[in-house]
C-alpha cells in the first residue's frame, strides 16, 4: 500500500456552509442580532417560543438572498417555501427549526475557485484556463442556498456558567442564516479551502455576511467520500460537522480522507455517518451512524406564506450589486497590469481593493500603490489584526506619502517607518516628515562626505565598480544609506557614487 491515498482514490467533497446574514434583527422576530451580549438578553417572546407567538419574515433578508443568488450565477426562485424541521433540543425553543426544504430561495449556480494549474485540480470538467500560468480557474457548482434560523447555544461548561448542568443562551436563536450547499465538485482539501475562501470573499463583497469564523458567523459541514480513479459512481459519504476555521476544514478533510482510505485499503466498507473533528489529535471520529437517522418530519410551515419574489425586485438588486471578486480580478489584470500575487491580495477584500484604487488614482502610480498596499500596509494591518477600513490611514494619506517617496523627498525606508503610526493614528505625512527631520538628504556636500568615507573603507568593491561591475554598487549604496541613517536620497547617492568612482558616466 502506498502512503498517499490520492494515488488510488479520487476524493469527492461537497460543502454545506452556514453564514449569518448581516441584519439588524432576527429572521422572524424583532430582537436584535448582536454578538457578545449577556446571555438571553437579545430575545423576544417569539425567540422563546412563548405560547401564541407567530413568525414574521424579516424583509431585509430577501434582498440579501437575491444578492447571493446573483453573485453565484444562480436562479433566484420567484417562489420559495418555509418548512419546519422538527426535532427536540433545549436550544431549539419551538421544537422545530424554520428552514427551507423542497423549495429553496436560490438554486443551480456556481462560483469559481483558483486552483494550481498542475495536477488533478486543473482538470476540472468545467475548468478553464485564465491569465496566469501558475493557477487555473475551476467552477464549483452551487446546488442551492436556503434561508433558515439559527438555534441557540447549549453551554455545558461550569467555568462559563458558574453552576452545574447545562445552560441555554438563546441570543443566537433565530439569527438569520443562509445555508449554501455546493455540488460534490471539490477534489481535495485544498480545493475545499479555496472554495470557502472564494465564497467568503463573495459574501463580504456583496455585504450579505461578515462571515467572521471566529464569531461563528461562517460555519461549514463537509461531505467526504472516496472512489477509485475512473469510477463514475460515488462512494459512501460521511459528513463532518461544525468546522469553524479554514485550518480545521482542510485538516478535517485530510484526516477523513486518510481514515476512509485505510478502511477501503483493508477491504472494509465506509458507513454513512456524522463525524466530528478532533483538532488536537487531528483525527475524525464517528458521532452517530446515519442508519438511525433522525426523521425531521419536514412540512410547510403553516404560520408563513410562500416567499414570492418578483422579477422587478431581482432586477433592482442586480442594479445595485457591486463588482464581484472575479470581475474585479479580470478588470485589475487588464487595467493595472500588476504582479499576479499583488492582484490576488488586493482583490481578496473589497475594502482593500477600493483603498488601492483610491490610492493609485491619488498618487498617480498603480504599481507603487500596489507595492505599498499589498506588501507594507498589509503587513501592518495583519500585525494589528485590522481590516483596512478600521485603520486610521486614508488612501489619500498613503498616496501623498508615496508621492513624497517618488519625488525623493523621503526615502522608502523612512516612509515605511512612518507607516505604523499612520495606521494607528493617521496624520499628514509631509508635516510628520518635517517634524521628525526625516526629509531625504539631497545635499551633494553631505552625500559626498558619506560617500568618500565608504569609498575609502571598501577598496575592493570600489575597484570592481570601476571596472564596470554594477553589482557591488548596491552594497556601497547600502553603506552610504547606513551612514546617512536612511535619510539620503538614494538616486542622488547612486549618482554621486558613480561620479566619484568612475569619474562621471
Amino acid at each position: 500500500m502506498t502512503a498517499n491515498p490520492l494515488e488510488r482514490y479520487e476524493v469527492v467533497i461537497g460543502l454545506e456552509v452556514h453564514t449569518h446574514l448581516r441584519t439588524e434583527s432576527k429572521l422572524f422576530s424583532p430582537a436584535p442580532v448582536r454578538y457578545g451580549d449577556a446571555p438571553n438578553h437579545d430575545v423576544h417572546p417569539i425567540d422563546l417560543a412563548m405560547p401564541g407567538v407567530l413568525p414574521v419574515l424579516n424583509e431585509r433578508v430577501i434582498d440579501l438572498a437575491i444578492r447571493l443568488g446573483l453573485a453565484t450565477h444562480s436562479t433566484v426562485n420567484t417562489r420559495s417555501v418555509f418548512s419546519r424541521k422538527n426535532y427536540f433540543y433545549p436550544d431549539l425553543p419551538k421544537g422545530y427549526q424554520i428552514s427551507q426544504y423542497e423549495e429553496p430561495v436560490v438554486s443551480d449556480g456556481w462560483i469559481e475557485i483558483e486552483v494550481p494549474a498542475s495536477g488533478e485540480a486543473g482538470k476540472g470538467k468545467k475548468g478553464k484556463k485564465k491569465g496566469d500560468s501558475a493557477t487555473s480557474v475551476k467552477r464549483i457548482g452551487v446546488t442551492r442556498a436556503h434561508l433558515e434560523e439559527d438555534a441557540g447555544k447549549s453551554i455545558h461548561d461550569v467555568a462559563v456558567t458558574g453552576a452545574d448542568g447545562t445552560h441555554i443562551d438563546l441570543n443566537r436563536a433565530g439569527v438569520p442564516l443562509l445555508e449554501i450547499v455546493s455540488e460534490p465538485d471539490l477534489r481535495s482539501a485544498a480545493e475545499a479551502g479555496a472554495y470557502l475562501r472564494s465564497l467568503r470573499s463573495i459574501l463580504r463583497y456583496i455585504e450579505v455576511s461578515d462571515a467572521d469564523m471566529e464569531k461563528g458567523q461562517f460555519r461549514c459541514d463537509a461531505n467526504v467520500s472516496l472512489r477509485l480513479h475512473g469510477s463514475s459512481e460515488f462512494g459512501t459519504r460521511t459528513e463532518i460537522k461544525n468546522l469553524n476555521s479554514f485550518a480545521n476544514v482542510e485538516g478535517a478533510i485530510g484526516a477523513e480522507i486518510l481514515r476512509q482510505s485505510e478502511i477501503l485499503d483493508d477491504g472494509g466498507e465506509i458507513q454513512q455517518a456524522t463525524m466530528a473533528y478532533d483538532v488536537d489529535r487531528r483525527r475524525t471520529r464517528v458521532l452517530r451512524l446515519k442508519e438511525n437517522a433522525d426523521d425531521y418530519r419536514y412540512f410547510d410551515d403553516p404560520d408563513l406564506i410562500p416567499l414570492l419574489i418578483d422579477e422587478a425586485r431581482i432586477q433592482a438588486v442586480r442594479a445595485e450589486l457591486p463588482e464581484l471578486p472575479e470581475e474585479k480580478l479580470e478588470r485589475f489584470r487588464e487595467q493595472y497590469n500588476l504582479a499576479a500575487e499583488a492582484t490576488q491580495i488586493l482583490v481578496g477584500s473589497r475594502s482593500l481593493a477600493d483603498f488601492f484604487e483610491r490610492c493609485a488614482e491619488a498618487c498617480g502610480s498603480a504599481k507603487a500603490a500596489a507595492n505599498w498596499i499589498a506588501r507594507d500596509l498589509r503587513q501592518e494591518l495583519n500585525e494589528r489584526n485590522l481590516e483596512v477600513e478600521d485603520s486610521a490611514l486614508e488612501a489619500e494619506t498613503l498616496a501623498s506619502l508615496i508621492r513624497l517617496v517618488e519625488e525623493g523627498r523621503v526615502t522608502a525606508k523612512s516612509a515605511r517607518d512612518l507607516l505604523p503610526e499612520l495606521v494607528e493614528r493617521g496624520g499628514d505625512p509631509e508635516a510628520l516628515i518635517q517634524e521628525r527631520g526625516l526629509e531625504a538628504v539631497s545635499d551633494t556636500g553631505l552625500i559626498d562626505g558619506w560617500a568618500s568615507q565608504v569609498i575609502e573603507a571598501n577598496a575592493a568593491a570600489v575597484e570592481s565598480v570601476r571596472e564596470g561591475d554594477d553589482k557591488p554598487l548596491n552594497f556601497l549604496m547600502g553603506q552610504v544609506m547606513k551612514a546617512a541613517q536612511g535619510k539620503a536620497n538614494p538616486a542622488e547617492v547612486r549618482k554621486r557614487l558613480l561620479e566619484m568612482i568612475r569619474g562621471g558616466d
Binding site: G52, V53, L54, F88, R297, P302, I305
Partner: protein, 483 residues
C-alpha cells in the same frame, strides 16, 4: 340585561354603569359560572378598575365602540400580559403570559372589559369540554349534557347569561358546534380575518378566533372590533374589514341559499335536526331567498382530511411544551430525555397525546406522501367544491352538528364517533371560509343549530342572512332554565 345588545342599550341610556355590569357578571361567574364549569379564572380587580375607566370615557363622550363597558370572557387559549393562560392543560398550568395577544388588545381598544377565562378542551382538542384539567363544562339547558367544545366554556357562559359575549377559537367547529349545543350564535370568520397573534396554536392553518353572542348583529359588532389586518400574523389577510352593521338590512330577497345534497342524506344527521334546519331554510325562502340544491362531492373525505392536517400541525405546534423554558417540568428528572418524556407524559391529557402521536405518524418518512401530502391535495379539492357551489349560491345552509347535545361522558371512550360528528364544520376550516351557527329550533328542550357558510371574506352576507332570520324568528330569545 344579559345580552350584549341589552347591555349596550342600558349603558347608553345611563341606566347602568360598566362597574355595575362587571360586578354582576363577576357574581354570576362565581355562582353559576363555577357550577357550570364555564369560567376557570377571573381578573376581578383589574376588570373593575377598567370598568371604572370605561364609565369615565362614556361620561366624557369617548365611547370606543358598541362593546364599550361590556364584560367578556376569553377562551383560555388567548394570552394576555400578566395573566395565566392554561389551555386547560396541566403542562401550562403555571404559565403566565409575558405579552398581550391581539384578541385581548383589540377588545380592550374597543372598550370591552375582559372578565376572565373560559373553560375549554385541552389545547382546543375535543368536542365536549371534557378534556380539561378543570373538569367538564356543563350545558346550561341540561347540566347532565355536554355544552360541546372545544370552546364549551365560552358558549355555556353566554347561554347562561354570565357575560353578553365571549370569544372562542374554531379549528374544526370548536365555536360553531358548542354554539349549536348551547343555543347561541357562534361565528368562525374567514381564515386570516382575525389575527392569531397570541392565540395558542392547535393547527395553524385552520385556527380562527370568533365571537359567541345571542344575535348576528352582536356578532357583527364583535367581529368589527377584533377583525382586520395584523402585521404580526403572516397569515392575516391584507383586506380591510368592511363595516358590517350596514349590511344587516333584514332583507334576503335576491339571495340564493344552497343546500348541499350530501348534508341532507337519510343516513346522516338526526332526522329531527334535519327537520329543524329545513324549517329554518323555509323561513328564509318565504322571506324571498331562493333555495337551490348544490353538491360538495368531497364531503365523505373531509373528516379524515381534517384529522390528518390538524394532528400533523398540532404535533409540531405542541413540541414547544418541553419543560425547558416555561410551564410544567416534571420533578426529579435526571437527564434531558427524562425531562422531555416525563414532562410531556405528565403534562398532556389522553386526547392531546392521541393527536400528537397521530400527527407525528402522518408526517413521518415513508408515510408523509400517503397521508399528509394526500390530505393537502384533498384540501384543494374541498376548496374547489365550495368555489363551484358558490357559483350557484350566496350562502350554504345545513345542520351545524348531526345531533343535539348528548350526555356528558357518553362518547368519552369513542373518540372516532366524536370525530365523525365534525362532518359539517371541518370543511369551512379546510377551505378557510366563514361560517356561523345560529339557533333554529329545539328537540326535547335542547337547541338545534343551523350552520350558514359563506364565500371567503364575505362575512357580511353571512351575517345579513343570519340577522334576517333572527328578525323573523325568536329562537335566539329563548333562555335556558335559571338564566
Amino acid at each position: 340585561m344579559e345580552s350584549l345588545e341589552a347591555q349596550r342599550a342600558a349603558l347608553e341610556a345611563s341606566e347602568i354603569s360598566s362597574v355595575e355590569l362587571v360586578t354582576e357578571a363577576l357574581a354570576r361567574s362565581e355562582d353559576s359560572g363555577k357550577d357550570l364549569g364555564a369560567v376557570i379564572g377571573l381578573r376581578a380587580e383589574a376588570a373593575l378598575a377598567e370598568a371604572a375607566e370605561s364609565d369615565a370615557r362614556r361620561r366624557g363622550g369617548d365611547s370606543r365602540s358598541p362593546l364599550e363597558g361590556a364584560p367578556v370572557l376569553l377562551k383560555d387559549n388567548m394570552v394576555m400580559q400578566g395573566e395565566p393562560t392554561t389551555c386547560a392543560s396541566r403542562i401550562l398550568e403555571p404559565f403566565v403570559s409575558p405579552y398581550d395577544g391581539a384578541a385581548a388588545e383589540r377588545l380592550q381598544a374597543a372598550g370591552a372589559i375582559i372578565l376572565g377565562r373560559a373553560n375549554m378542551d385541552e389545547f382546543a382538542m375535543g368536542a365536549t369540554t371534557e378534556n380539561s384539567i378543570f373538569g367538564p363544562a356543563h350545558n346550561p339547558w341540561d347540566p347532565a349534557r355536554t355544552c360541546g367544545g372545544s370552546s364549551g366554556g365560552s358558549a355555556a357562559a353566554v347561554a347562561a347569561g354570565i357575560t353578553g359575549f365571549a370569544l372562542g377559537s374554531d379549528t374544526g367547529g370548536s365555536i360553531r358546534q358548542p354554539a349549536s349545543f348551547c343555543g347561541v350564535v357562534g361565528m368562525k370568520p374567514t381564515y386570516g380575518r382575525v389575527s392569531r397573534w397570541g392565540l395558542v396554536a392547535f393547527a395553524s392553518s385552520l385556527d380562527q378566533i370568533g365571537p359567541f353572542t345571542h344575535t348576528a348583529r352582536e356578532a357583527a359588532w364583535v367581529l368589527e372590533a377584533i377583525g382586520g389586518h395584523d402585521p404580526r400574523d403572516s397569515t392575516s389577510l391584507p383586506e380591510a374589514l368592511p363595516s358590517l352593521e350596514p349590511a344587516l338590512t333584514g332583507d334576503v330577497a335576491g339571495l340564493t341559499i344552497g343546500l348541499p345534497k350530501e348534508y341532507f342524506v337519510d343516513d346522516g344527521a338526526d332526522p329531527a335536526v334535519i327537520s329543524a334546519v329545513r324549517q329554518g331554510v323555509d323561513t328564509l325562502e318565504r322571506a324571498g331567498a331562493k333555495v337551490v340544491e348544490v353538491t360538495l362531492p368531497h364531503t365523505p373525505y373531509v373528516v379524515s382530511t381534517y384529522y390528518l392536517v390538524a394532528t400533523a400541525e398540532a404535533s409540531s405546534n405542541l413540541a414547544r411544551y418541553d419543560g425547558a423554558r416555561y410551564g410544567r417540568r416534571a420533578e426529579g428528572v435526571e437527564d434531558l430525555d427524562a425531562m422531555y418524556r416525563r414532562s410531556r407524559s405528565e403534562g398532556f391529557g389522553a386526547e392531546v397525546k392521541r393527536r400528537i402521536l397521530l400527527g407525528t405518524y402522518v408526517l413521518s418518512a415513508g408515510y408523509f406522501d400517503a397521508y399528509y401530502r394526500k390530505a393537502q391535495q384533498v384540501r384543494t379539492l374541498v376548496r374547489g367544491d365550495f368555489e363551484q357551489a358558490f357559483e350557484r349560491c350566496d350562502v350554504i345552509a345545513g345542520p351545524t352538528y348531526p345531533e343535539v347535545a348528548f350526555p356528558i361522558g357518553a362518547k368519552l371512550d369513542d373518540p372516532v364517533s366524536l370525530y365523525l360528528g365534525d362532518i359539517y364544520t371541518v370543511s369551512a376550516n379546510l377551505a378557510g371560509l366563514p361560517g356561523i351557527s345560529l339557533p333554529c329550533g329545539e328537540i326535547d328542550g335542547l337547541p338545534v343549530g343551523m350552520q350558514l357558510l359563506g364565500r371567503a371574506l364575505d362575512e357580511a352576507t353571512l351575517l345579513r342572512v343570519a340577522d334576517a332570520f333572527q328578525r323573523l324568528t325568536d329562537h335566539h330569545e329563548r333562555r335556558p332554565p335559571g338564566a
